[in-house]
Amino acid sequence: MYRYDQYDQAMVDARVEEFRDQTRRRIAGDINDDQFKPLRLKNGLYLQLHAYMLRVAIPYGTLNSVQMRKLAHIARTYDRGYGHFTTRQNLQYHWIKLEQAPDILAELATVEMHAIQTSGESIRNISADQYAGAAADEICDPRPWAELLRQATTFHPEFSYLPRKFKIAVISSKEDRAALRWHDCALRIVRNEAGEEGFEVYAGGGMGRTPFIAFPIRDFCPANQIFSYLQAILRVWNLHARRDNIHKQRMKILVHELGEEEFRRQVEEEFQTFLALGTDFPQAEYDRIAAYFTPPPFETGLSEEIDRSDPEFALWVDRQTVRHKAPGYAIANISLKPVGGIGGDVTAEQMEVVADLAERYSFDDVRVTHAQNLVLPHVRKQDLYAVWGALAAAGLADANLDLVTDVIACPGLDYCTLANARSIPVAQKIQQRFADMDRQLDIGELKVKISGCINACGHHHAGQIGILGVDRKGTENYQLLLGGSGAEDTSQAKITGPGFDEDGVVDAVERTVERYRELREPGERFLDTYRRVGLDPFKEAIYG
């Protein structure tokens, strides 16, 4: 993985001391909250319902064991013993004291981490395929590009005061595990007919109040021109965005209002300007960064055999492991979705278990997924049983990847000041309703995603079953949506009809699932059946 050089470290250390001074001045009364708020947000520090919340950046969702142990230490020392992995592959602490925040940032800096650009009107943490460098279906590891773009856009003066936040994702496989087209700018590494590497570029996606799926703005951008193209997109948006209306500031709105063709025309024009400036990455710089992502020294001649005599282990292998590019290895997913638990929450002790396993069995590599789970990307198949045993002892061995209990849920009204309704209790009740493993397996892939407000941090627009919590005359109400996808078959979920109370929406989910089981044809996932038969049969089941 990438390691800081002296300049990276100096910048992050300086930023910590700058924030320490800003915090001191706020507490001393030298600056008021209106002055301090944008400063703390630039360092990922929010004020939430019960305390300050710190969002720590995990670039492209990659961690090593030292970093994971530091996150555990911070959880134990400065928070209440746990952290929450988010849908942007980051980690949030929900019980932070302002007076300790500079110390936490200083601790993070010692392990090459920070909270810069995890909030505010900036280019946010660049996300990537959690299986990068391990996936059997990838063209190349997308993380060197994510890292290059991270470095080039961090503190970039033209993009420090954007109209609104801007989210980028990078993948290099046909299968989309990063909700690519739900981003402002989505990059998929491809090869053209000549075998040259480049990017398929999508623009103008995003969830929130007004969801849009990113449109294909360019079929192929040569790899050595991608920074020019990204800058061109950002400049067009920066110049023409509706800064006068908070609900119309995101780039997706500009794309919608200008139209795809006109937006593309303006981007291509700016692209030529940037190409002439020569700001793209020289090959030597790409090579320097790519060297940090050299594949680990995989052993050869390993056995492909897995002893499946323990049925619980065999189930875990079937659900949680994915084919690795290296023979004898597997990608092991760690579920953070125990039935009745809080999705994405991990205790300090569990973080340390994962850190130990990564160090011992996965070339010191851990990944965070946008579905709020973790991954050990490089595990020898012969070590899977030991890994599973250690995970089970730590309460981390659920075998529900992409099943109905693998629910994405934002923190909701239990923690978030923006929320209108609680998300987590709904997720827990759905998990409890479908807890029976045989039933889950019979249902098959079913991605349920819950947001506690229209900001859609729980990705309800992309849920095969989505749930949106709203405030209805002071009480929590839940709208049900069907048919969304964050995968390569991206689609936006549709609202079924009138909303429900908390128990009512769980009942409605169950009626939806049962109708699917009645209607499905062999081999069909829920989403396949929905797309074949449409919304009406489900509405009939839900509303009678």
Binding site: R26, I27, D33, H50, Y52, L413, T417, A419, G474
Partner: protein, 98 residues
């Protein structure tokens, strides 16, 4: 009744105006009537509260009960982590929120 709440500047903890000071417990909150804005301005200036605002509440025998569920959750703590609320030993505390 109308009561005042905000977050402690240094710790971020949820606090409620008692009439003279700030308390962690909503039961201690005082009815500020029409004086809420003036109190908040003074307390913000004194840097004792961050993000203060006025809350409509119902007077009950057990003390003020905020009208909106968001403020009731703020008053108690996350409903999904009773161990982290102000009343971890009371299994029925969550009923007050809902």
């Amino acid at each position: 009744m109308r009561i005042l709440t905000g977050n402690d500047l240094k710790t971020g903890a949820v606090i409620w105006w008692t009439g003279r000071d700030w308390s962690l417990h909503v039961e201690d909150a005082a009815d500020v009537g029409e004086h809420g804005e003036a109190v908040l301005a003074a307390e913000d200036g004194a840097r004792r509260v961050n993000g203060g605002y006025i809350v409509d509440a119902e007077a009950t025998p057990d003390g003020p009960r905020p009208a909106h569920i968001k403020d009731r959750i703020r008053a108690l703590g996350p409903t999904v982590r009773p161990d982290l609320t102000l009343k971890p030993a009371d299994p029925t505390a969550g009923d007050w929120v809902i």
